[in-house]
């Protein structure tokens, strides 16, 4: 019997997010003969993004395009998504483990009385159905889980699954009308885009991160200059956030964000276990610290014992030359 797999795609800054292609690939990993994939796009002014998504191997694209959906609101987005799910009766639904996915997936799971496996970093197929690997304790351990009944709801962590590739075909685009919820109890008053033009930490390929060794708010400037040259995001340890050098939104660790970039450059970070939990799954770790005994060097692929205020500007110069 033909089953339907749904991927809830997402935009950021008007562009389809990388993690949405990874979620699409997750659906393809679970797909069996005859299964169809529907990608759902919710928002406002989605014409070109829907066209783009249509070339990545989904069988159809469902678009809910309405001015009320310009910003994420759990009530309006649920009102946009749930009628589609009701109509297609999905076998599985995939979201990115992003601010939107972390919020909308459990809304959906509760409404469908479904199980959900969150923050998935790997998927493989078995005779007993798909098996999902996810971190516990922010990556200090991992568990493999499966569903005991359907529908399956999954959020995938950015940067861990391969993205779907263009398929050479174009899926049909279906426009679905939006009916607002009868009583709206959630109103988005204001959205302040503080991160415009900056790379989001959870999706960043390179992260430059600062700890207590950065010493002040101004001390992050050399890190930001390095990040600008690398197209990297800037993160921080709890120590730096607690000391007021940095806002908590940038914190990486067991409390804070868990990141898995290609390169993690830790500057003036000693390497407390709570920080290591959030970043030790990075592919390559570089540590710069004055203290040669700092625990961060135990997990770093490359270490520089030295003053970050001297080393980081030199690195910025070297990368600028190398990337020119």
């Amino acid at each position: 019997m033909s089953r339907m797999l749904v991927v809830v795609a997402e935009l950021r800054g008007g562009k389809l997010r990388q993690v949405s292609y990874e979620a699409l690939q997750a659906a393809k990993t679970v797909q069996e003969d005859g299964d169809r994939i529907t990608a759902v796009l919710i928002g406002s002014g989605l014409e070109s993004e829907a066209q783009e998504l249509a070339s990545y191997g989904a069988d159809e694209i469902q678009v809910v395009d309405h001015a009320d959906l310009a910003s994420y609101n759990p009530e309006t987005y649920a009102a946009a998504l749930l009628p589609i799910l009701k109509a297609v009766q999905p076998h599985a639904i995939f979201f990115g483990h992003t601010a939107l996915g972390r919020d909308l997936a459990p809304v959906t799971a509760a409404r469908l009385q479904a199980g959900q496996i969150s923050d998935v970093v790997a998927i493989h197929r078995s005779d007993a159905g798909p098996v999902f690997n996810r971190p516990l304790y922010a990556g200090k351990a991992f568990e493999e889980k499966r569903f005991t009944g359907g529908p399956m709801i999954v959020t995938v962590r950015p940067n861990n699954l391969p993205p779907a590739e263009p398929s050479g075909t174009t899926a049909g685009i279906i426009r679905t009308a939006y009916s607002p919820p009868s009583s709206l109890r959630t109103v988005i008053r204001e959205v302040v885009r503080q991160m415009t033009g900056q790379v989001d930490l959870t999706e960043a390929k390179i992260i430059v991160s600062g700890g207590r060794g950065v010493k002040s708010r101004e001390g992050f400037q050399p890190l930001e200059q390095l990040a600008a040259v690398l197209g990297a995001a800037v993160g921080a340890s709890r120590g730096a956030c607690d000391a007021g050098y940095c806002e908590y939104a940038r914190q990486i660790g067991q409390t804070g964000k868990v990141v898995t970039p290609e390169i993690y450059i830790a500057c003036g970070i000693s390497g407390a276990i709570q920080h290591l939990a959030g970043m030790s799954q990075s592919r390559i770790i570089v540590a710069i610290n004055k203290d040669a005994e700092a625990p961060i060097f135990q997990v770093a692929d490359y270490g520089i014992v030295g003053d970050l205020f001297e080393v980081v500007p030199l690195l910025t110069e070297e990368f600028r030359k190398a990337l020119a």
């Binding site: 809304v107 799971a109 490359y302 030199l314």
Partner: protein, 255 residues
């Protein structure tokens, strides 16, 4: 203002994880209130101090979670409820259903919880609960004000700041930065011993084991591969910087 706070007891974030007989070992582990839930407890107590009312802390978990609830009572919560039942699986579908069954019979203006738990980290239970109880919600909140039957919450959406207005009753989950949780005072600890503490089983909330049958199951548990310490670069700072860039390109092949 009647507030319920959803709490979980978790490993201290400085703990190492040891797997024994296919389970995470709890031997000698220090347990704390899940750090995000601690912000929720603090926020509830502050709202009560300002507006009056009561704060009830609620947890579904093992008997040891009583200790976390007592800490919250010592911080200033008024009552504690522990739903502890071996037949309640650790599946978010099951836990949220059990909590909803209890809360459906209670009256409240606000439910507060943590953004996620630092152990399982799924971030589902609170938001599921909002849906099951038909409440509006805002997750990952860094600022909260309540007045005139409305809550205004500032939430962190990947670094962007959103201001959301909710009609009460509502559910809000706490993100770091919401407040600075207080330590329990000695008089607080003494008073906590006399505060109401209820223990509930599945029967008490009108559910059977079948009602909370899990939708997911764990197949295996493992530790990540250990990272090997790499190499310390040599030379003066300029040489080290040049070598690092060269190694990232030729050896690690990441740039």
């Amino acid at each position: 203002m009647n507030i319920y706070v959803l709490m979980k007891q978790t490993f201290d974030t400085e703990e190492r994880i040891v797997i024994q007989d296919g389970q995470v070992s709890e031997d000698g582990v220090k347990f704390v209130i899940n750090p995000y839930d601690e912000y929720a407890v603090e926020e509830a107590i502050r709202l009560k101090e300002k507006e009056g009312g009561t704060v009830v802390v609620l947890s579904a978990g093992p008997e040891r979670a009583a200790e976390a609830l007592r800490t919250a009572l010592a911080m200033g919560a008024d009552e504690a409820v522990l739903l502890s039942d071996d037949r309640l699986p650790q599946d978010e579908y099951s836990v949220s259903k059990a909590l909803a069954a209890y809360l459906a019979a209670e009256s409240y203006d606000l439910l507060l919880g943590g953004n996620f738990s630092v152990d399982h980290g799924a971030g589902q239970v609170a938001i599921r609960l909002a849906q099951l109880l038909d409440l509006p919600h805002a997750s990952s909140v860094t600022k909260l004000t309540v007045s005139g039957g409305k809550a205004v919450a500032e939430r962190d959406a990947e670094g962007d700041a959103e201001t959301v207005e909710l009609t009460l009753p509502a559910l809000v989950t706490a993100q770091q930065g919401l407040n600075e949780p207080r330590y329990p005072s000695l008089p607080g600890i003494m008073k906590a011993k006399k505060k109401p503490f209820r223990r509930l089983t599945l029967e008490d909330v009108g559910l059977t084991e079948d009602d909370v049958a899990p939708r997911t199951e764990r197949l295996s548990l493992s530790l990540p591969p250990e990272r090997q310490a790499g190499r310390l670069l040599k030379g003066d700072p300029a040489q080290q910087a040049a070598e690092l860039v060269s190694l990232l390109r030729t050896e690690a092949k990441v740039i």
